[in-house]
């Protein structure tokens, strides 16, 4: 304990943050144990996702300046707990309700934008998800069910802060209060459980299923295009990083929307990549110095990673989502191909932003590369672990 304190070596954060951190850790533990039974049930894919989230939190703490580490650890534990709860609560309406306090908890941390500005996205997501779910289950005309299906699909998109529900990005905003908290950390948990919740008990009529699928695929393609072009063309580097998340999310949404085995597997791997690779890289990009004139090979390999090329995490996602799209209707693959080819363009820029990391950053980068390699080379094992 003393060694831990010595490592953190920082003033004690507010008691409520310590408490929240402890609560987050406890919630994570409860969700992992499935206690109380029936109320909290963590599906296998979410367990793997949680296993990928822990290193991301650790990296965030590790990269933080010494003075902020304990605070970051507490915030990370709260995030971990929230992620576990969102993934474990079987009732989607309860999930929607819980999104509200989680959204406020994230928005309440000090930041440049006001609390109300930061909480709008999660609040809208919660409302869309909750109302959509309620309409899906309520008796009434068919259009009401379709409206509910739309609400659920848009709710997922809004939770991730994706197009068309993008939130404002500001340079220098702390990671835990920026878009990263939702797009890169909390939303993947929901994205993985949502299809299972929807498919369990066959709640959706074919009509409603078509609406959910079409909205997810359509918005997935939109996010792909937006992310691929935006990350390449936008002036702000922070926005470029956010847009690069949109590319991963685009693949994931399309995979989810296809309601097909390979598509779900692609979404699962894409979410793991977001948590295990993209988010840590975005965190590293905040601390790494700008690229020098002669980049080191490690930084050059990053371009390959960010472009989604083999042998890194992007390749199996692309293979699976292409397979799913081609099985359903081959023209769906065309926007996917265009986005895959365009990813090569923005990868150069993002990698340059990571520069030539040294010391602590270089070690972190090596770890991320290793994680990405595992995801890229043996996705079968991870699919087995996730039961997909």
């Amino acid at each position: 304990m003393t060694a831990l304190r010595a490592w953190f070596r920082d003033p004690r954060p507010g008691w409520w943050l310590l408490l929240a951190g402890a609560a987050g850790a406890a919630m994570t533990l409860l969700c992992l144990l499935g206690r109380p039974p029936g109320t909290l049930l963590l599906p296998p894919p979410s367990r793997v996702l949680l296993a990928f989230s822990a290193p991301a939190v650790a990296l965030m703490v590790w990269l933080a300046p010494r003075g902020d580490r304990l605070e970051r650890l507490c915030a990370g534990l709260v995030g971990l707990g929230s992620q576990a709860v969102l993934a474990s609560v079987p009732d989607l309406l309860a999930v929607a309700v819980l999104l509200v306090p989680v959204g406020f908890a994230v928005a309440a941390r000090p930041g440049r934008r006001s609390l109300s500005a930061r909480v709008r996205g999660p609040a809208l997501a919660a409302a869309l998800l909750g109302l959509g779910w309620a309409l899906l289950r309520s008796p009434g005309p068919a259009w009401l069910g379709r409206l509910g299906a739309l609400g659920v699909a848009l709710g997922l998109v809004a939770v991730g802060g994706l197009v068309p529900y993008l939130q404002e990005v500001e340079d220098g905003e702390p990671a835990e209060t920026s878009y990263l908290a939702w797009t890169g950390f909390l939303a993947p948990a929901l994205a993985l459980v949502l299809p299972f919740r929807l498919l369990q008990g066959h709640l959706l009529t074919p009509d409603e299923g078509m609406v959910v699928g079409a909205v997810l695929v359509g918005l997935g393609a939109l996010n792909l295009a937006w992310g691929a072009v935006g990350a390449w063309r936008t002036a702000s580097l922070a926005e470029a990083w956010r847009d690069s998340f949109l590319v991963d999310w685009g693949f994931a949404l399309i995979g989810l929307g296809l309601f097909e085995r390979d598509g779900l597997a692609a979404a699962y791997l894409a979410m793991l990549a977001v948590l295990g690779v993209r988010t840590p890289l975005a965190l590293l990009a905040r601390t790494a110095p700008a690229a020098g004139t002669s980049p080191r090979p490690l930084a050059l390999v990053l371009v390959v990673l960010l472009a989604g090329a083999a042998p890194f995490s992007g390749f199996p996602v692309r293979l699976l989502v292409l397979r799913a799209a081609t099985e359903l209707a081959w023209p769906l693959a065309i926007p996917l191909l265009m986005a895959m080819a365009l990813a090569a363009a923005h990868a150069l820029r993002l990698a340059r932003a990571l520069g030539s990391p040294r010391g602590r950053d270089a070690i972190g980068l090596a770890v991320v590369l290793a994680v990405s390699l595992v995801l890229g080379l043996v996705p079968g094992i991870l699919r087995g672990l996730g039961g997909i």
Partner: protein
């Protein structure tokens, strides 16, 4: 033994990469010392094991997958030929091009991955390998310098993405992308076109300036030559695989003339660029595209002779990829090297191109005309070599005399031994991939032996006459070297009768040396780009079309925008 031929060469290169990298980190700069022998040894092991193993095709499938693709490797006559071509080019480059340990390790790793990709047993695994190769090659290029890496990266990324889609379509239509298991009917024209597009992008065999030309114009050609040596055979291997997938045919007779015409156009365009180039390096940069065009011409014919000729021409390309970077910038030796690379007899390039054109002539009237275009390109290429001697030679590189001797020696030896190569390497590939019964067009007979090659339309006694020419040529050059008078301009003894100093001609600047033929479409791309840049939304519509305003509203998290989108979607789904 076939197993050794399949597994040992890539393993050797990978081990050399690790060793070189480790030595580099311990401060021992022994990259070349480790990687060059590994490449030669890998080539030796592959050749010996393949022949000793009785040249029996072998396929090895592993129970687990790699990156979502079934993991398996295979070795047959075509893979053996392509791997040997790659290995010989790599061995030349590793031996005679200076590289620090890190770069040598990366180059060796690229070689190992390329060999593995060539041996992949499924199209999805090939796409995976091509993707890895592209990434590593990009890393090697960008590590040296940033020029021309963007275009290369873009082309190669597009290539592997297209190939991935082709593999996926095959899996969806045929249930698998394993070459030996795909039903013949699964290879339909759209899949083939995807595969061909990937192959041509990868090999740079297109009628405009591709990455293959661009990477050789860089100040540091080492990584560029590595990329060419590895990726060009890899690209052509995809077209060879297409024959295997289609049981000796491509899906649709129209595809053969289409790609053959593309090959002829590629060769002609490359020759046109070469004769208009502004520097010796830019001329040499077109040697591989010119050869790639003629190789594609032969390969696309679909006849056994065409396939065999393409394999031999590809062999020439591989050696050229290894030789050209070792040439000095100017002088007689450089000109001779250029001439061999551009198809002067009796080198392997000449033999391969000769057979490609003859195969085109024999395949039918239309392809015969394409062959004539190929001969035009060949002739213009030779003219470009002559014109290159007028261009100013930067004193940047002196090349590697020993490497040049070894490379040129290999080219000449392979050219003289064309008959042997044809009967032992090329003919088996042709009989495996395009059996005589498999194609409706003229089926040519290719006779090979120590004397030379014989085909119905005309023979080339490479061993006898070519050997005689090689012997006499070498002897003559040796005599000239001995007899050269002191004070005479040493590297360019092409003065006129009046002894006009060559230096005076060398002072002609690149700008003064005009192209021999000025094609009207030379600056078409720039003109089109200017025209496109000039396009604007008409002023009266600018108030309606404001994408920037929409983008700004979308990215700033405006609630009214969210509400608008949600309402619109709600209206759409409830209608």
């Amino acid at each position: 033994m076939s197993l050794a031929a399949m597994l040992v060469p890539p393993a050797l290169l990978a081990a050399a990469a690790i060793l070189s990298w480790s030595l580099g980190h311990t401060g021992v700069g022994a990259g070349r010392v480790v990687c060059a022998p590994a490449a030669w040894l890998a080539a030796g092991v592959e050749a010996v094991a393949w022949w000793w193993g009785g040249r029996v095709p072998l396929e090895l499938s592993l129970p687990f997958g790699l990156a979502g693709a079934p993991l398996g490797v295979k070795l047959d006559s075509s893979i053996f030929a392509l791997q040997m071509i790659t290995l010989l080019a790599l061995a030349l480059l590793f031996t005679f091009q200076p590289r620090d340990p890190g770069r040598a390790a990366l180059a060796s790793l690229v070689g190992g991955v390329a060999l593995g990709t060539l041996a992949a047993s499924s199209l999805s695994l090939t796409a995976f390998g091509l993707s890895v190769c592209s990434g590593l090659v990009w890393t090697a290029l960008a590590w040296d310098e940033r020029t021309e890496v963007g275009a290369t990266w873009g082309a190669l990324s597009l290539a592997w993405v297209l190939l991935l889609w082709a593999a996926v379509v095959l899996e969806v239509v045929g249930g698998t992308s394993v070459y030996s298991a795909v039903p013949v009917t699964a290879l339909q024209a759209p899949v083939f076109l995807l595969l061909a597009a990937a192959a041509l992008l990868c090999a740079g065999a297109l009628p405009w300036r591709t990455w293959v030309s661009l990477v050789w114009r860089r100040a540091r050609p080492a990584s560029g030559s590595l990329a060419v040596a590895v990726l060009v055979p890899l690209g052509f291997s995809l077209l060879l695989r297409a024959y295997a997938l289609g049981a000796g045919q491509w899906p649709g007779g129209w595809l053969h003339p289409l790609l053959a015409g593309l090959g002829a156009a590629t060769a002609l365009a490359a020759a046109g660029r070469a004769q208009a180039a502004g520097s010796v390096r830019a001329v040499r940069a077109e040697a591989v595209p010119l050869g790639a065009g003629l190789t594609l011409l032969g390969l696309a014919l679909g006849t056994p002779l065409g396939v065999a000729a393409a394999v031999l021409s590809l062999g020439g390309l591989g050696l050229v990829a290894g030789l050209v970077p070792l040439l000095p910038e100017g002088g007689l030796v450089a000109s001779l090297g250029d001439a061999l690379a551009f198809g002067a007899p009796p080198a392997l390039v000449f033999g391969g191109w000769l057979l490609c054109v003859q195969a085109a002539l024999e395949a039918g009237p239309v392809t015969g005309l394409m062959g004539l275009v190929g001969v035009f390109a060949w002739s213009v290429g030779l003219a470009a070599v002559a014109r290159a001697t007028w261009l100013p030679a930067p004193a940047a590189r002196s090349g590697s005399p020993v490497g040049l001797a070894v490379g040129a020696g290999l080219l000449l030896a392979a050219g003289v031994g064309l008959g042997g190569l044809a009967s032992l390497v090329a003919a088996p590939v042709a009989s495996d991939l395009a059996p005589p019964g498999s194609h409706g067009a003229a089926v040519s007979y290719l006779g090979g032996g120590a004397v030379g090659v014989t085909v119905p339309s005309g023979s080339w006694p490479a061993g006898a006459l070519g050997g005689a020419v090689a012997i006499v040529g070498v002897v003559l050059l040796a005599i000239v070297g001995l007899l050269r008078r002191p004070g005479r301009e040493p590297i360019r003894p092409l003065s006129g009768v009046e002894g006009e100093p060559a230096r005076a001609r060398r002072s002609v600047s690149a700008l003064e040396v005009k192209p021999l033929i000025e094609p009207p479409w030379r600056d078409l791309r720039d003109r089109l780009a200017t025209r496109l840049r000039g396009l604007r939304v008409p002023s009266q519509y600018r108030s309606l079309v404001r994408p920037n305003a929409v983008a700004a509203a979308a990215t700033r998290g405006r609630p009214w925008f969210w509400a608008l989108v949600t309402l619109a979607l709600a209206l759409v789904v409830t209608r």
